[in-house]
């Protein structure tokens, strides 16, 4: 079968700009994109740099963008991506600096993993044998342990794209693994830390991480779970919590969102600096004609919406 692979190249030593190079080659019907890239490197062009190792979606080396979305290339078969031999575009992962060709600098990634203190912190002396814990309380964590640190989620995370300081989906999923581990005694401290800026509330819930994760880790769901846990622990002094609360209040009261008030309550009425920031945003929005109405109007079916919201809120208690 014929394959046409368009690879984004970058060679820092030749001070070149990024460019695309097209390779045409014959591959087996069962070939993965990784097989094709290795073949290119061995037969056509030994200057092509990429990382790969296990060939079996377990080592996390081969994360790359394929036709614009992050994937493990060892797990992606060519026929599935390009059944008619269409051109396949391969680029390095996003949100990370490129070292050469398809090899990115993962240091920012690992630094964030380190930032969440990714190791067990038991308080009391360890038991003589294993910790006794129900299978149910542990096995769901295996889904998170499935994470192979490939960086696909980080590559495509929309929050990271605009804010480099965001801890990001992979590190937050890792954090969840400890927060939810019954053997770890620092859950509360961990939540307190993750509750700060750059933590769980910075996720925009765009769902990209859940979609691209090749191992079903579903980072966004872990992040949402930690938001709930943080609130349960009583950490309410965050823009995120206030945002959620105001969201619910607004919809419960008006049957729609009061965006102006939402922004104000999220930042906090007593947060002078935050309010000044917000004023700038407000001015910009005004200039572009995008400022939400100051006096909100009610939505038509608002009564029904209010009923739904209030019902859910009651159920929660």
């Amino acid at each position: 079968m014929k394959a046409v692979i368009d690879v984004k190249r970058f060679d820092p030593e030749n001070n070149s700009k990024e460019y695309f190079q097209k390779y045409e080659l014959d591959v087996d019907e069962s070939s993965t994109i990784l097989d094709a890239l290795i073949k290119i490197r061995e037969d056509l062009d030994g200057t092509l740099a990429l990382r790969c190792s296990c060939r079996a979606s377990i080592c996390g080396s081969c994360g790359m963008r394929v036709n614009g979305s992050a994937k493990l290339v060892c797990k992606t078969r060519l026929v599935d991506i390009s059944p008619e031999g269409e051109k396949v575009q391969v680029e390095p992962l996003g949100n990370m600096p490129v070292i050469k060709d398809l090899v990115v600098d993962m240091n920012p990634f690992w630094n964030k993993v380190k930032q969440v203190r990714p190791f067990m912190m038991p308080e009391n002396t360890e038991p003589e044998g294993e910790y006794i814990a129900s299978n149910e309380s542990m096995t769901h964590l295996v889904d998170v342990m499935n994470c192979i640190m490939c960086g696909a989620c980080v590559s495509d995370c929309t929050a990271l794209e605009v804010d480099e300081s965001f801890i990001g989906p992979a590190a937050l999923a890792k954090a969840y693994r400890f927060v939810a581990d019954p053997r770890d005694d620092k859950s509360k401290d961990r939540l307190k830390y993750l509750n700060k800026n750059s933590g769980v509330w910075d996720c925009t819930r765009c769902y990209a991480c859940v979609e691209v994760c090749p191992k079903g880790v579903a980072p966004m769901e872990r992040i949402m779970k930690m938001r709930d846990l943080a609130i349960e622990e009583g950490f309410k002094n965050t823009s995120g919590y206030r945002h959620t609360k105001s969201f619910v209040n607004s919809v419960g009261r008006l049957g729609r969102l009061d965006e102006a008030k939402l922004a104000l309550t999220s930042v906090g009425f007593f947060n002078i600096f935050g309010l000044i920031d917000l004023a700038f945003v407000g001015l910009k929005a005004l200039v572009r004609g995008k400022l939400p109405p100051i006096l909100p109007h009610k939505a038509e079916s608002s009564e029904n919406i209010k009923k739904i919201v209030n019902k859910i809120e009651k159920k929660k208690v």
Binding site: D11, P12, E13, N14, D28, S30, I38, R41, E42, D43, D45, G46, T47, A49, L50, R51, C52, S53, C54, R55, A56, S57, I58, C59, G60, S61, K75, R77, I99, K100, D101, D105, M106, W110, V113, K114, P118, F119, M120, P122, E126, G129, E130, Y131, I132, A133, S134, N135, M138, T139, L141, V142, M145, N146, C147, I148, M149, D181, R183, D184
Partner: protein
């Protein structure tokens, strides 16, 4: 030049476990690794780790006997005793570090059955045991703030006055070549699967450490003992764990027969790996296979069970073969998987070179002898990884740093330059790697004989001379995988020759080394280890005695 008391080459389970111990023992420790630690091939281990826990009514002696019988009596029994006695503590320690093992109804760690053992004593995390363990050891390395040379490739061990005093390595991200001095060095570089094709091993498993050790004058032991795993995918060699059979999967032939009945009526699918692989090969050779494979049948286990306990296997089967294991049996065949042989060490990890230690798959203690039991390798890595660090403390305390002279560094740099300078009319390294690896699989396979071994060895020698004519496309410094690939091939050629040398020397059949021209085990002459050394005349083979404690060799029936 940087200096460390203890420098560990390799960040797989053996390397990281050694590193954590070194830090706990108060040494200044660094780990050097050609890939990020969690990319090490330990992450591929699926099935589990063995331990006989007394509070579960198990006995380390039973584990030891299964291991020794599995080894076809080639394991050193004193080393096996140590491994099996320390298994419980090693396992519980991993649990305390944070590994999320599967549990039983009482909330204690649960087990599954594995090959070559009657008692279920394999502890596991779904079908991602190695990955779960490796990530936890990496977490520990973060906790201890371990210094790690990440994506650095070691090209040479430096020996001065007969002692190992450090390494020369390339920083792959910048291309810089540097010397790093250390009072003691632990080699924990893992397996050598790429010397064969296909193999269950990763692309990085090129046996670098074996060649580094050989070149530093250390001995390799029982190199001919290559494990062919009974259940690998035909095309790419990817593994489907023994856990499948441990959980009840059947092996069937084209006539829908559970053929293991004929070969191992007592243990059936859970006989030792060498036995099962040979049985499959007989079925295939005698025409009861399907396209060179037999079938692994898991349909009776049910979809939920498969997805919960063997999720990764289902993932592999669907992704690579388009097969849902709960609906269809999957074609599998024996495939190269593991090297029982390796750098000869005592049970404290010490090699024959002072200051040099080895642990993990690259080492041979020997606890696996002629055939390793499934789930004993992960155990080997943590037990002997730890011991190698403990044992190096004495050495570190009684020795001073020795500066590595610039000449050594310069001569290494020149070696790399000469690769860059070769004319572009030559051969690409990848091409001859494949030729060599296919010849090795053919010659040193499930079956072998004098002729096939000679053929393989001749081919490897040809490849060695072809190597002079390779050329590199990439002449750059930054992340030059072309150069690394060529240096790996150079190591692999040594490893391949030492395997051929061992195989040719052992004139009997034992465990994984089955010679069709010498079918019987010969305890009178060959209850012995083969020891391979490399000197100016080539590869020299000697022998040494096997340590027997309580278990006299018996006929091996499953």
């Amino acid at each position: 030049m940087s200096k460390h008391d203890l420098l560990i080459i390799g960040a797989g389970l053996a390397g990281l476990r050694a590193a954590v111990e070194g830090v706990r023992q108060g040494l200044s420790v660094a780990v050097i690794t050609k890939v990020h630690p969690v990319r090490s091939h330990s992450n591929a281990a699926q099935g589990g780790i063995n331990a006989a826990l007394t509070d579960r009514g198990d006995d380390w002696k039973d584990h030891a006997f299964s291991t020794i019988k599995g080894s076809d009596y080639l394991a050193d029994q004193d080393a096996v005793e140590i491994m099996c006695k320390e298994a419980g503590d090693a396992l519980i320690e991993l649990e305390h570090m944070g590994v999320i093992f599967s549990r039983d109804d009482e909330g204690k760690l649960g087990t599954r059955a594995f090959g070559g053992q009657k008692k279920a004593r394999t502890f596991f995390v779904g079908a991602i045991t190695g990955s779960a363990m490796l990530h936890v050891l990496y977490e520990q390395s973060v906790k201890y703030n371990l210094s790690i040379y990440e994506e650095w490739f070691v090209t040479k061990l430096v020996k001065i006055d007969g002692k190992c005093v450090g390494v020369i390595a390339i920083d792959m991200k910048t291309g810089k070549v540097e010397s790093i001095s250390a009072k003691s060095v632990v080699i924990a570089t893992g397996g050598a699967g790429r010397v064969f094709e296909p193999s269950t091993n990763a692309i990085i498993c090129t046996g670098d450490g074996l060649s580094l050790a050989l070149r530093a004058g250390a001995e390799l032991m029982d190199t001919e003992m290559i494990q062919y795993h009974p259940t690998t995918l035909a095309g790419n060699g990817i593994l489907l764990s023994e856990a499948a059979r441990g959980e009840g999967a059947y092996l069937i032939n084209s006539e829908n027969e559970r053929f293991m009945e004929k070969y191992a009526p007592d243990y059936m699918e859970l006989a030792s790996r060498d036995v099962v692989s040979r049985s499959e090969q007989i079925e295939i050779d005698e025409g009861r296979g399907i396209d060179g494979c037999v079938l692994l049948d898991m349909r009776h286990l049910g979809k939920n069970f498969i997805e919960e306990r063997l999720g990764y296997l289902q993932e592999v089967a669907t992704e690579f073969m388009g097969i849902d294991l709960s609906e269809k049996p999957i074609p599998i065949k024996p495939g190269m998987h593991y090297i029982m042989g390796g750098i000869k060490t005592d049970f404290n990890g010490a090699t024959s070179v002072p200051g040099l230690y080895a642990a993990g798959e690259c080492a041979n203690v020997s606890v696996h002898g002629a055939n390793r039991l499934g789930a004993n390798s992960l155990l080997d890595t943590v037990v002997f990884g730890r011991r190698s660090a403990v044992n190096s403390v004495e050495w570190v305390k009684s020795n001073e740093f020795i500066e590595i002279p610039d000449e050594i560094l310069i001569s290494e740099k020149n070696r790399f330059q000469s690769l860059f300078d070769k004319p572009s009319s030559g051969i690409r390294p990848g091409k001859i790697r494949l030729e060599m690896a296919e010849a090795m699989t053919k010659g040193i396979g499930v079956w072998r004989d004098e002729k096939s071994i000679n053929n393989a060895w001749e081919k490897v020698k040809d490849i060695r001379s072809d190597y002079d004519n390779i050329y590199l496309d990439d002449k750059g410094k930054i992340y030059n995988t072309d150069l690394i690939g060529a240096l790996e091939l150079d190591f692999m050629i040594d490893v391949a020759e030492s395997i051929c040398a061992g195989a040719k020397a052992r004139k009997e059949s034992r465990g994984a080394h089955f010679r069709t021209d010498l079918k019987e085990r010969d305890d009178k002459n060959w209850l012995k280890h083969t020891l391979v050394e490399k000197n100016d005349d080539g590869f020299i083979v000697k022998t040494s005695d096997v340590k027997i404690t309580d278990w006299e060799p018996e006929e091996r029936v499953y």
